[in-house]
């Protein structure tokens, strides 16, 4: 584990802990956000037969870096009527909430922030901070659009948490663990062992499970999409109605923190979906490190597959964004309470029965 490596290197638990905790932020989330913002704009552009950013660097690859420098230089505007304390805490809370989720996500078999047995449960609990932060931001802005956006966001996240948890429950029931590391390890070897194909055990139940696993995957994908406030569930920041929702009043680095949190969240959600259904960091075709007998190559490959799966689901999120129009508030609630939750419930029961036989 990386933590032990740093512990041996520095001989101090505190330094090792700090470095180990900062690793995902520095080497993963920040570069990922830079790439994802550019990818989003490029994908958006090409899907609309445009080019996207083209000016900064070759085909605009330095565009996000230029944007970050611009945001750093910007004035930090705080309106007079804001609730200063909440206003300043909110972006930090939102970012902390989405960053804390990375603690329990296994990046490779050699690195996980905290290998806790309640992994997936912890992630669901800690991302609740994001709702609090968003509500705080909307309330403290003292702006009707911000508050409306924040309230919509809270309602939406709370509603869509239920189908998410029901699907997670299905998976937990099926695999018998909430530890994401063990969950990923169970799905090792070929892609046929992934949970979406009914898990590693070869039996009749495996084949019976496949359609229900696909349903479960669709439900968790839709509801996590809603939880990260992405189109078609982006009514909290509906540009055409609410300016930009809860972060209307924010500028400069505080806005950048919301932005970063949004992209970190997108990846966290994709990583969870891939850990639950698509084997987490595991390669679908076996490892080059095993065939060549180079042990250190395996975590590198695992990191590649983890990133690949995460970025692929992020890409699908972007793809959906430029495909589907925004849902109305009542449609949003209908989709969650009348469709996703009952189906998730029935699915939970069926998967339970199939696992028993």
């Amino acid at each position: 584990m990386i933590y032990n490596f740093f512990y041996n290197l520095f001989g101090s638990e505190i330094i090792a802990g700090f470095i180990s905790a900062a690793l995902p932020l520095l080497i993963f989330i920040l570069p990922f956000a830079l790439i994802a913002v550019l990818l989003e704009r490029k994908v958006a552009g090409h899907m609309q037969d445009r080019l996207g950013p083209m000016r900064v660097g070759y085909h605009g690859i330095l565009q996000t870096i230029a944007d970050i420098i611009k945001l750093l230089q910007k004035e930090d505007i705080i309106a007079r009527e804001n609730d200063k304390l909440l206003f300043n805490i909110a972006p930090i809370l939102v970012f902390a909430g989405s960053y804390a989720a990375f603690a329990a996500i296994p990046f490779t078999s050699a690195y996980i922030g905290a290998n806790i047995d309640l992994g997936i449960f912890y992630i669901i609990a800690v991302t609740g901070l994001v709702v609090a932060g968003i509500l705080m931001a909307g309330w403290a802005s003292n702006n009707k659009y911000s508050l409306l956006g924040a309230m919509r966001s809270a309602a939406q996240i709370v509603s869509y948490e239920i189908p998410t948890i029901l699907v997670v429950l299905t998976l937990v029931m099926f695999t018998g663990t909430t530890n994401l590391m063990t969950l990923s390890e169970n799905q090792t070897a070929l892609f046929w062992n992934w949970n979406i194909f009914g898990g590693p055990e070869l039996s009749l139940a495996k084949f019976l499970l496949i359609p229900f696993m696909i349903i479960a995957f669709l439900i968790i994908y839709i509801s996590t999409l809603a939880e990260v406030n992405r189109t078609p569930f982006d009514i909290p920041e509906a540009e055409s109605e609410l300016v930009s929702g809860y972060h209307t009043e924010y500028s400069g680095m505080k806005f950048a923190m919301f932005f970063l949190a949004e992209y970190a969240n997108m990846f966290a959600v994709s990583a969870i979906v891939s850990a639950l259904f698509f084997g987490g960091y595991h390669s679908p075709f076996g490892y080059l490190g095993n065939t060549l007998d180079i042990q250190w190559l395996i975590p590198v490959e695992q990191f590649f597959w983890f990133t690949f799966k995460g970025v692929f689901f992020v890409f699908v999120q972007m793809w959906l964004r430029w495909t589907l129009p925004r849902l109305r508030v009542d449609q949003l609630m209908t989709a969650s309470w009348k469709y996703l939750i009952p189906i998730a419930f029935v699915n939970l029961l069926i998967v339970g029965i199939i696992t028993l036989i």
């Binding site: 090409h46 899907m47 037969d49 495909t323 589907l324 469709y339 189906i343």
Partner: protein, 184 residues
Amino acid sequence: MKEYFNNIYTALYTIFVGMKITFRHLFIPAVTIQYPDVKLKLPERERNRLYVNMDDCIGCDQCSRACPVSCIEIETVKSIPGEDLGKTSNGKKKVLWVTKFNIDFAKCCYCQLCVFPCPTECIYMTDVYEFSEYERENLIYDFVTLTPEEREQKKLNFEKFMAEKAAADAAAKQAPKDEPKKEA
């Protein structure tokens, strides 16, 4: 109940139809034209910034009179005998010094009405359309090829010539009264 499942089916089906369409568009070449680097070919009879070829201008003032927004200002001075102004490209003899030929492109409406009356075809539309300025005064274009000193010189020359002529006339008539000098 049937409607419920029908809704689910339609939702999923239409999402996949939409995703198929957007995915196809991902590979369609972009229609963007990278403007400052790549420019579209202008139409054959495009109307942009005017240009006046002063070598051909005879100072007839017809373009100024044709202008619906009065953006062309022309002042001319007659040449004195002995000065050769040359000929225009279509063989007209020039007799006037053009001392002022200003076109205010802030006013110009690019109607091309000034182009048709010109007897020597010296005022015409070019293909230049990128000439925005921060100051409105910078949009007043001076087309006269003479330097400011030369313009003053031509005016003085003509006044002197007229004065001399008047004096000569007066001398010739032996008139007792001084005639008032005529302005050009």
